[in-house]
Amino acid sequence: MNILHDDRLDGELPRIDKAAVLAELQRAAPGLTLLHREEDLRPFECDGLSAYRVLPMLVALPETLEQVETLLKRCRALGVPVVTRGAGTGLSGGALPLEQGVLLVMSRFDRILAVDPDARTARLQPGVRNLAISEAAAPYGLYYAPDPSSQIACSIGGNVAENAGGVHCLKYGLTVHNVLRVEVLTIEGERMTLGSEALDAPGFDLLALFTGSEGMLGVVTEITVKLLPKPETAKVLMASFDDVEKAGRAVGDIIAAGIIPGGLEMMDNLAIRAAEDFIRAGYPVEAEAILLCELDGVEADVDDDCETVRRVLEAAGATGIQQARDEAERAKFWAGRKNAFPAVGRMSPDYYCMDGTIPRRELPRVLKGITDLSAEYGLRVANVFHAGDGNMHPLILFDANREGELEQAEALGGRILELCVEVGGSITGEHGVGREKINQMCAQFRPDEITTFHAVKAAFDPERLLNPGKNIPTLARCAEFGAMHVHAGQLPHPELPRF
């Protein structure tokens, strides 16, 4: 797709003279670090979706709340768009800069303000890394549950903006379930507290609305998260299957047995071989699929559950079941999964990661569909799957240096997402819409639903200065690109719920 903001399809952006904006911001916020030379802007031209690059007009690196406040007020007065960026690890281009916009980088807000072991909370600046929260909580036997695979680098502010997930969502929830309160600044520079340190807050649940809103409604400046006691023990079973469908059914069988695993992950043969080649995790390279099932909790219960899961897996036709003997082997099993993306990256010059979710029962059909599409486009696809919560990460392998192959990969990705919508799923489970999936939103939602999203945006940012062109497409864009996509009424299998 065309990554540049397209005024015709994304709405008109003001053309403001760069020198004038720079001079005005320097005047209004004298201590604020502002980057404006091309070589200084270059490192900020993309986020984790590095296939898309745009040089921002200016980069602001504030260190105080007052600087952010001033910046927002001045940008609003000048009519300059603002794109907020955390650690820049997002996978959907949500922090892709705008040529005519200021990139507001929150990474210097990196202090852990407080850890309260009795209240089991941590108060954080938005630039604090996800993993640093659990590290700070560890001395008290506590941790922060959401663990996106980029947790070493990604920041909590970005996690809130994207409603980040991880491998433990089925049992412990997404970011929205683990954040108690946020402080935000509106585009008008007003300070607002959403949520509360109590378990609820009066009024509308604006905390839920802001979580996952991709920087479209305000700028998050402080976050209070909930901490959980570390489970007494965690054990991992790895099961191999000679058939992907059997593995898919085993996932449902485990849950039908009344067990909610801490993590339940699936990988297909291509992903297994890639991971094994890279990490030597001890994966069976001949298997068509493996399941990793982690059970955590109180020791006695976990032992009982391991036995139950082992029986379920045997009955489901697993060709081999291995329980990690110790913590080192458990870590090794997980290392293969957590490094699956870079492992696949070693097999191919480039890869493109999808993020659709589906009802689990549709797994066999969707995997078959992906195999067919992969053949149709002549591009290999490796499947890594948060099986417990139906979140798929097909990785499309391609070579950007080959003429047209990126476009082919994007087209294949779009078809996979439409397949997810068709079976009653969603185009994104945890990576967000950003710029990347803006066209697929037209397949997920009807025009009147998209109009409602615009109404929500208008309540907070009527001049659409915060992250314009992301997350919610215009109806003009849907009219142009939506036509190629699935539409309710024209879908095969009309009996399926279209939620």
Binding site: L199, D205, P231, D303, G424, T428, V456
Partner: protein, 368 residues
């Protein structure tokens, strides 16, 4: 408008509801949305034409293996819970009914959760998707029937606790949980300060506690999980056996503490974990009922709302009056007033989603 006959168990009344909404919007007539009418005490009284949801009922999708249920909002809550129980599952948020006729829509619109809330999550935490009829009479879908979904703004969870003021909820999809393998309830005689101290200590440990309330000089605990861990924890904590139906009585406010004979307003104090006793004039430490491990405290008091609210706000929480309404001795504003900036964005959102103010106007706040 009460139904003259029992409606069928499975009936889609969305088109008729949409038509009534279109008419109300065209006329600018406010609507008072009513399901089982069991939670009318909650929020401010609404003047408006009654919009009855109880004909719109039935479970539209339930697959126990997916841990997901979709249900029309006029469905009796008891009917939904019975269907889940047949499959060994439950609503993790343990919602109060406050009457036999309670509906799924009322649970979502009020967002009220039961004793399990601090450990398992609230109604909002279990909502995955909604269908909602907007002011133009269009039924729209947000969220979905999958566990993870970040496409578009999270309007599903925004609707929870909005008291019907942003649109008419017609269907909700929720994540459900397996019922625990074992349950034990304990009664431990313990003074309040020690109970609060123990709750903080146990909160840092991975114990299978799923309810904790202090009243009448004793800490009441529920343990749930695998049989081995529940038995081991019960042995370790000691105390006496407590009847499991204590928790339903607490949730439904049937304990003596909640007696309707007591004319004083009932206050719900929502406070952070590990908040000490709140100092209020004329209120002894042991007067409130401490539920949710102390994060939800019930208080019978005739103190003015300002005094109660200021004390809660200072502690990082807020206070809600659960009745009676103004005129019967209650307060004009049951919910803690919002900060001016937050109130402004509430009004903006209401104006965008319900420009003529037809959906439960004034139920949450006068201006919404």
């Amino acid at each position: 408008m009460a139904n003259t006959a029992t409606p069928p168990r499975d009936h889609d009344a969305s088109e008729a509801l949409a038509e009534r909404i279109r008419r109300a919007d065209a006329e600018g007539t406010p609507l008072r949305i009513v399901g089982g009418d069991t939670k009318a005490f909650y929020g401010r009284p609404v003047q408006g034409r009654i919009l009855d949801t109880t004909e719109h009922r039935g479970i539209t999708y339930y697959d126990p293996v997916e841990l997901i249920v979709s249900v029309r909002t006029g469905t009796p809550l008891a009917e939904l819970e019975a269907a889940l129980a047949e499959n060994g599952q439950m609503l993790g948020c343990e919602p109060p009914h406050f009457g036999d006729d309670a509906t799924v829509g009322g649970m979502v619109a009020t967002g009220l959760s039961g004793p399990r809330r601090p450990w398992a999550g609230s109604v909002r935490d279990f909502v995955l998707g909604v269908r909602v009829i907007n002011h133009e009479g269009r039924e729209q879908r947000f969220g979905g029937q999958v566990m993870k979904n970040v496409a578009g703004y999270d309007l599903s969870r925004l609707m929870v606790g909005a008291l019907g003021s942003l649109g008419l909820l017609t269907e909700v999809t929720m994540k459900v949980l397996p019922r625990p393998g074992a349950t034990r309830s304990l009664h431990l005689d313990m003074p309040l300060p020690r109970a609060l101290e123990k709750l903080a200590e146990w909160g840092r440990q991975p114990l299978p506690i799923t309810a904790a309330a202090w009243l009448d000089g004793a800490l009441h605990l529920r343990l749930e999980g695998g049989p081995s861990s529940v038995a081991a924890t019960a042995d370790r904590l000691g105390g006496d056996e407590l009847r499991d139906d204590f928790w339903a009585a607490l949730r439904e406010q049937r304990l003596a503490f909640f007696s309707k004979e007591d004319p004083r307003p009932l206050w719900r104090l929502a406070l952070p974990h590990h908040t000490p006793v709140i100092d209020l004039p004329g209120v002894a430490d042991g007067d409130p009922l401490y539920d949710w491990a102390g994060t939800q405290r019930w208080l019978r008091s005739e103190l003015d709302d300002k005094t109660i609210r200021e004390a809660c706000t200072r502690a990082g929480g807020h206070a809600t009056c659960h009745g009676p309404h103004l005129g019967s001795g209650g307060t004009a504003e049951p919910f803690t007033p919002l900060a001016p900036v937050v109130a402004k964005y509430h009004r903006n959102l209401k104006a965008e989603l319900d420009p003529k103010g037809i959906f439960n106007p004034g139920r949450l706040y006068a201006a919404l």
